[in-house]
């Protein structure tokens, strides 16, 4: 589904990603962990199409197409979804209108008619229930005045509405209390299927208790320095990142 080959990127002349290799297949869940400033959000943003970064090398193919050539909206319509680490507040744009436009654009891309208002509302209600969102929140402007947790939940709600094939969750668990975390995890698990894939960017093992990954990768200083199964997350939890850092230093020295 997604193949990242030797991806390198910089911003304002500063190299941030230094050759990322990652393959994600249908049905898989990958967790990407790593200390702050490693380049996790940069990777996620580049996959979603943020234009602030200069791609200095490498390729990303998504379902056989060249992802980096696509505009952000094309990627979204093709099934890429980024749950933002810091979702932006957009006063005056109602969640409902925005989602309707988003859902219908994706449908149009797939050759489908726009949804009937009734069917759309029904779908909204179902997905709201899934992430335990209240109507009041959905009726408001996009993220306006939402708490940190509410914003994250709204991201998962949008994901549920858009039914992406590849969901990238950038620290969706940060700032959530345990109840909210369970809700988010439950939402993600319900949407899992053999045709979808999820990339979970997280800081903490905690989320991985509820969403069990197939693979865990450690991103450090712009490189994936270690990959393994779910037990790697536990190891990280127990030992911290220092041993990774030391290991990475040795590798570079060698």
């Amino acid at each position: 589904m997604l193949t990242i080959t030797n991806l390198q990127a910089s911003v304002e002349g500063k190299e941030i990603l230094k050759g990322i290799n990652l393959t994600v297949n249908k049905g898989e869940i990958h967790a990407i962990m790593g200390p702050n400033g490693s380049g996790k959000s940069t990777l996620a943003s580049i996959l979603a199409g943020r234009e602030d970064y200069e791609i200095t090398g490498g390729e990303v193919s998504f379902n056989g197409g060249d992802l980096l050539e696509m505009a952000p909206e094309e990627r979204a319509r093709e099934g890429v979804f980024l749950a933002f680490q810091y979702p932006v507040e957009i006063p005056g744009v109602s969640n409902t209108n925005f989602l309707k436009a988003a859902v219908n654009e994706t449908r149009k891309h797939r050759g489908l008619e726009p949804m009937e208002p009734k069917a759309f509302l029904k779908m909204m209600r179902e997905k709201m229930a899934l992430v335990e969102m209240e109507q009041a929140m959905v009726s408001r402007s996009v993220n306006e005045g939402f708490s940190g947790g509410e914003k994250k939940r709204n991201e998962i709600f949008q994901m549920a509405m858009l039914e992406p094939s590849l969901a990238i969750l950038d620290e969706t668990d940060s700032g959530l209390d345990i109840d909210a975390l369970k809700i988010v995890a439950n939402g993600v698990n319900k949407l899992r299927s053999k045709d979808n894939a999820v990339v979970l960017i997280t800081h903490y093992q905690r989320l991985l208790d509820y969403i069990v990954p197939d693979y865990v990768h450690v991103l450090y200083k712009g490189r994936i320095v270690k990959s393994g199964g779910k037990e790697l997350a536990l190891e990280l939890e127990a030992k911290g990142y220092d041993w990774i850092k030391e290991g990475a230093a040795e590798e570079v020295a060698a």
Partner: protein, 446 residues
């Protein structure tokens, strides 16, 4: 014609105007007209050297050969004015053509306690409220355009609501300049007096009818002064829609006198025109009076839109809240000058002012200037202005959900404008404005 010529012809034309007034040249109104003419002759049209006109040059506006009110009679058909009406609006509609009231195009409903008629008739009948308030709310001492308007004051609308009366229908005032035969200068003068506890909604708009493109271009120049007196706890919702042709110039002043706990809500929407100047001012003369000023200018081409506001907090416990927003494209120019005066006695004043602009083109300019003059110590005042482009983060967020760039921009601009449009409680008006703005943004972003 040179600038001076129009000024001279206005001064000379005053005699012809007086002749036309014939039996109506009676005191006290006519004495005021004469004083105003003298004052206009002294002041002359303001130039950009005048502090209040620094960014708004009238040179282009006053160089044309205008017919004065008494020389440009026109009658229009219902079909010709139809585009300026809002069919879904069940209103008291008063239509004026080249300044003259057109009863056949108007629709007046009788309501007890409500007087609505042409000001000329009220002058003629020596209506006591007209004589009491005329030229008292809008002073012409320092303002040449108000002086000019006062000198030529004859036509416009007089509305009176007796105490406790709530107008059943909004008042829709439509001023049409017919410039198909010549350029036309139209002075419009309105007076609204709301008694204690009365409530009304007024929508006013000016439009210029132009000849077909092949003919020699003519211009319409409207000078408008509206005086408003709000009695205790009276409420007025005042909407202005300005969506006129490029060959039009509009200089308007709305002056409001507010008694205690009265509320004046103003929403001024400017969508097009040549030069549009709006002066808006309130004297908050009674305790706990509120003034809310909202403005949206969404302009392109070479339109110049200039909003000057002045809120005079004369007594304690009053609130003023101002929000003006601009979306400027092409070579358009915007001016916002908001003055808040808090006098010594006006303790516990709350005064907020904000001006926010989005520039869609590098050639659009905005000049914004807040002026706070605060002489009381126990007050809360704030002002702020921002000018910029659309927020890149928001654009990316929307695009990352599948909306294309144009859709995303349109959605954000619609939201930006929506904050002002939602202040309009006349639904048919709001719907129409939303449609016009959606259409405009669609074109602009295409």
């Amino acid at each position: 014609m040179e600038a001076l010529d129009f000024q001279t012809s206005l001064i000379k034309g005053f005699t012809a105007f007086e002749t036309m007034l014939n039996g109506q040249k009676v005191p006290p109104i006519h004495d005021i007209r004469r004083q105003a003419m003298t004052r206009f002759a002294e002041l002359g049209f303001p130039t950009v050297r005048h502090e209040e006109w620094k960014y708004t040059s009238l040179v282009a506006a006053i160089k044309h050969d205008y017919k004065l009110p008494s020389q440009a009679a026109s009658t229009l058909t219902a079909a010709e004015i139809a585009p300026f009406l809002i069919p879904e609006l069940d209103a008291q509609t008063l239509v004026f053509v080249n300044g003259v009231f057109a009863p056949e195009l108007s629709m007046i409903h009788i309501q007890k306690g409500v007087t609505v008629r042409s000001l000329a008739e009220a002058f003629h009948d020596k209506h006591p409220l007209v004589e009491k308030h005329f030229a008292k709310v809008a002073s012409f001492e320092k303002d040449a355009l108000v002086a000019l308007n006062t000198a030529y004051a004859l036509n416009g609308v007089f509305i009176e609501l007796e105490r406790g009366v709530v107008a059943e229908r909004p008042f829709h005032l439509v001023f049409v300049n017919d410039t198909r035969m010549s350029s036309v200068f139209t002075p419009v003068r309105n007076l609204f007096v709301l008694g204690e506890n009365a409530e009304a909604t007024v929508l006013d708009n000016s439009h210029t009818l132009t000849a077909s493109k092949n003919d020699q271009p003519h211009y319409g120049f409207t000078s408008s002064v509206t005086e408003i007196v709000l009695g205790e706890n009276a409420h007025l919702h005042h909407y202005k829609l300005q969506n006129d042709v490029e060959a039009s110039y509009y200089v308007g002043a709305t002056s409001v006198h507010q008694e205690s706990t009265s509320v004046y809500n103003s929403v001024v929407i400017t969508l097009s025109g040549g030069i549009v100047r709006n002066n808006l001012s309130s004297v908050l003369a009674g305790k706990a009076a509120d003034a809310h000023y909202y403005g949206l200018y969404c302009v392109n081409g070479k339109t110049l839109v200039d909003n000057h506001t002045l809120v005079d907090h004369a007594v304690a416990h009053c609130t003023s809240n101002e929000l003006y927003k601009g979306i400027m494209d092409d070579r358009s120019t915007g001016v916002f000058n908001g003055k808040i005066m808090v006098r010594e006695d006006a303790q516990k004043t709350l005064a907020y002012q904000s001006n926010r602009n989005i520039l869609l083109s590098n050639n659009a300019t905005i000049n914004t200037k807040p002026q706070l003059e605060i002489f009381a110590d126990d007050v809360k005042c704030s002002h702020g202005c921002t000018t910029g482009q659309l927020d890149e983060e928001s654009l990316f967020y929307l695009r990352a959900r599948g909306l294309d760039k144009e859709q995303a921009r349109a959605l954000l601009l619609t939201a930006f404008a929506g904050e002002i449009l939602e202040k309009i409680s006349l639904e048919p008006l709001r719907d129409r404005l939303e449609a016009i703005i959606a259409e405009r943004l669609h074109q602009e972003l295409a």
